[in-house]
């Protein structure tokens, strides 16, 4: 993170309070990106750490994952309309109710 443009005692007093490091979902991605940008510095990190940055962005925004789901569901609807899928098996069986989630309750990463 670059230093603030205007530095006053208040900017030191009120830094960013939140990050993914409190066992957040994107903890690893943020950690990798920050380690990388710390190693390369402000200017070099812009090209060297682009993949890490994109991964962190993806973790935050779900952009590719949502696109993936859209493409797959469109494909499924197309196949159903064409009659390619066997009857009664258009969709997958739903997974067990409590199967999703991390090891501990309330964690989902």
């Amino acid at each position: 993170m670059p230093p603030p443009v205007i530095r006053t005692p208040f900017t030191d007093l009120l830094p960013a309070g939140y990050s993914h490091q409190f066992y957040g979902r994107c903890m690893k991605f943020e950690d990798r990106f920050l380690q990388c940008s710390e190693a390369y510095g402000a200017k070099l990190s812009e090209e060297k750490c682009l993949d890490y940055k994109n991964d962190l962005y993806e973790c935050n925004s779900f952009e590719k994952q949502i696109k993936r789901i859209q493409v797959m569901q469109r494909e499924r609807q197309k196949q159903i309309k064409a009659g390619e899928r066997p009857k009664g098996k258009e969709y997958m069986e739903p997974p067990a109710l409590n199967s999703y989630g991390g090891t501990f309750f309330g964690t989902h990463w």
Binding site: D51, V71, S99, Y100, G101, W109
Partner: protein
């Protein structure tokens, strides 16, 4: 018209009215201080004794419940994790089966493009909730979403 009826003035009786009785009528005394205080002390002592007995029992039962939970938790969590991995495998197979006609598509990617470029091969990446229910009807997703993310 005139009448010869004589009227008699209504006057107090001779010797005046009876005096009003203001004197206090005290309740019948059953409890004195020397019965109230010992009764209070004894009943409180008995109550505290019984309460402590009950508290012991409650604590014992709570400890039993907790130890049962602690003993069961690894099993339940392991079953849950196993179920998760099985379901992920099922989803992968479903995806490869579904997208076999799409060119350049590999399971877990967007037209061959990895979702996370930098995450190592052996790292577990949790699928997002929408991806987990991508191959189900939308009703199933809403049902499960309400189950998981209720506040």
């Amino acid at each position: 018209m005139s009448s010869s009826t004589t009227y008699k003035q209504d006057l107090p009786p001779d010797g005046g009215y009876k005096k009003l009785d203001f004197s206090r009528v005290p309740a019948r005394k059953i409890w004195n201080w020397y019965t109230i205080i010992p009764t209070y002390v004894v009943s409180t002592a008995v109550g505290i004794y019984l309460w402590r007995l009950n508290r012991e029992q409650v604590r014992r039962e709570r400890a039993e419940n907790n130890s049962a939970t602690v003993a069961l938790m690894p099993l339940l969590i392991a079953e849950k994790d196993r179920n998760l991995l099985k379901t992920m495998r099922k989803i992968r197979d479903e995806e490869t089966e579904l997208m076999k006609n799409t060119e350049g598509w590999e399971a877990g990617t967007l037209y061959g493009e990895k979702v996370y470029k930098t995450s190592p091969e052996d790292e577990f990446v949790m699928p997002s909730f929408n991806e987990y229910y991508a191959h189900n009807k939308n009703e199933e997703f809403t049902k499960r979403f309400q189950f998981f993310f209720r506040f």
